[in-house]
Amino acid sequence: MRSKRSTNAAMGVLAWIVALLIFFPILWLLLTSFKTEQQAFTVVPNFFFSPTLDSFKAALAQGSGYWHYAWNSALTAIVSTIIGLALAVPAAYAMAFYPNKRTDFLLVWMVSTKFIPAVGVLIPIYLVYSAVGLLDNALGLTLLFTAMNLPIIVWMVYSYFRDIPKDIVEAADIDGASIMQTLFKVVLPLALPGLASTGLLALILAWNESFWSITMTDHSAATLAVYIASFKSAEGLYWAKMSAASVLAIAPIIVLGWFTQRQMVRGLTFGAVK
């Protein structure tokens, strides 16, 4: 019994050590963001120092452009999520409650578009976007984020709708409610928590997206991912500022992510793991 207890304790300690090791790079980024540029860029790392908010001030200062990129990130993530939900909810509703023989095929087809690699559609989208003026344009990027997330959103909303007992919807139909009335009065209120977590997942994925932002935007529609990537050639010049900008960009997502772990698993595995 005692040996079992001590193995348990040892395993607990091991788990904590592993967790801290995995988390360490993020912690180091966080520490660096509270240093001055001189403290950040040293041969012998500073583990103990008096924290300063200078780097955050520099990162957020007027002329740093931070707010411009943050605004673009927020705008594209939020609007793409709203459009995605607006497209996905009716489709998922029809498939979940009024299925026909083509439903399974359509659902699987929608999911399968998620597996087309971005480079497979990059070139025509780039050419068409530059022809119609959607390059470096917030709307253009937003619609790409919508397309990227729509399969996952449809799938998740569908799976949440399927959790609603069918009798409730049938009862509403028999009471003479139209399809749309049933959707708004019965189904949506019941699925609200599911819709919220679906939206959150789409928001996180859009916010963290980098391939489309880097290839399709330059400045006016550029997101935080593009801004932070622009530090890639700053050889040690702005490490503290880069860290502060990065912390501001990832902190909200890490916090949201911690709250949505389960939904994340459900959404990203297309319901195979709940």
Binding site: N8, M11, G12, V13, A15, W16, V18, L20, I22, F23, P25, I26, W28, L29, T42, V43, L87, A91, A94, Y98, N100, D104, L107, V108, F115, P117, V119, G120, V121, L122, I123, P124, I125, L127, L144, T146, A147, L150, P151, V154, I179, W207, N208, S210, F211, A225, I228, A229, F231, K232, G236, A249, I253, I254, G257, Q261, V265, L268, A272, V273
Partner: protein, 307 residues
Amino acid sequence: MKAISRTAPSAEETGARSFARTTRLLMAPAVIFLLIWMLVPLAMTIYYSFQQYNLIMPMYNGFAGLNNFAILLGDPTFWKSLANTLIIVAASLVVTVCLGLALALLFNRTFVGRGVARTLAVAPFFVMPVVTGLIWKNMLFHPVFGLFAWMARQLGLEPVDWLAHYPMLSVVIMITWEWTPFALLVLLTGLQSLPEDQVEAAKLDGASAWQEFRHIVIPHLGQVLYVVVMLESIFFLTSFAEIYTTTGGGPGTATTNLPYYIFQTVFQQNDIGIASAAAIGAVILANIFAIMLIRFIAGNLNAGAAR
């Protein structure tokens, strides 16, 4: 009662017809959107792959037949990028799945502060890949100012220039750091749905820890593992940000994977035809995994319907 049953069929019929129309209208926007943003571009990529199409040399543009593919197959950089892509997928897959499984088993035990520790361990998955690249490049891998260099010096070793001398290993380390938490998260969710009574029964029957793992945990986790492997393969095939922010595909072509090769062909050489041919290659590669995964998802769907 009788009246209802007599009128019911016809009402149901007209109802069904209008239902069909309404449901089609409900599905149309999403389907059309995906057609325009995914399938039409894919078809255009296929079309471009048969065209000689260079943005800065438009005078030579025209039908090219299989020429782009011939050029591609004769280009050592393409083969190198294909090999790099597969190395990244295979290496990252082995490490993230093995490590993820070990960690999931570890974090499935009860210990003090389990929730907090688990939360810290999954955090890297939520970090923007661009930030991941910069953290590792500047603050950990840097041969002079990086933490690894300092640790090496503390141990009396020569600091290593990771990105220059072990570029592929470095890329795999970064991807592994980001995706092991994903494997951990999914596998842990799978473990937590492990049927308790089976475990108890096995223990009563005197099963050893290894037997319990081999005969109960692994079969139960089988389909979870399958999904993790397929999903990760598809994501690893398209790794981009970690390479873009750190090695830029180099040194030379040491870490140029297929997406990065296509990116360079489009934006540096402006060669739409060749890039499209390479993109078709990437789509085919992704499809090998996607078809298996889609079959699995579709199978799950039918099982759900039967329930």
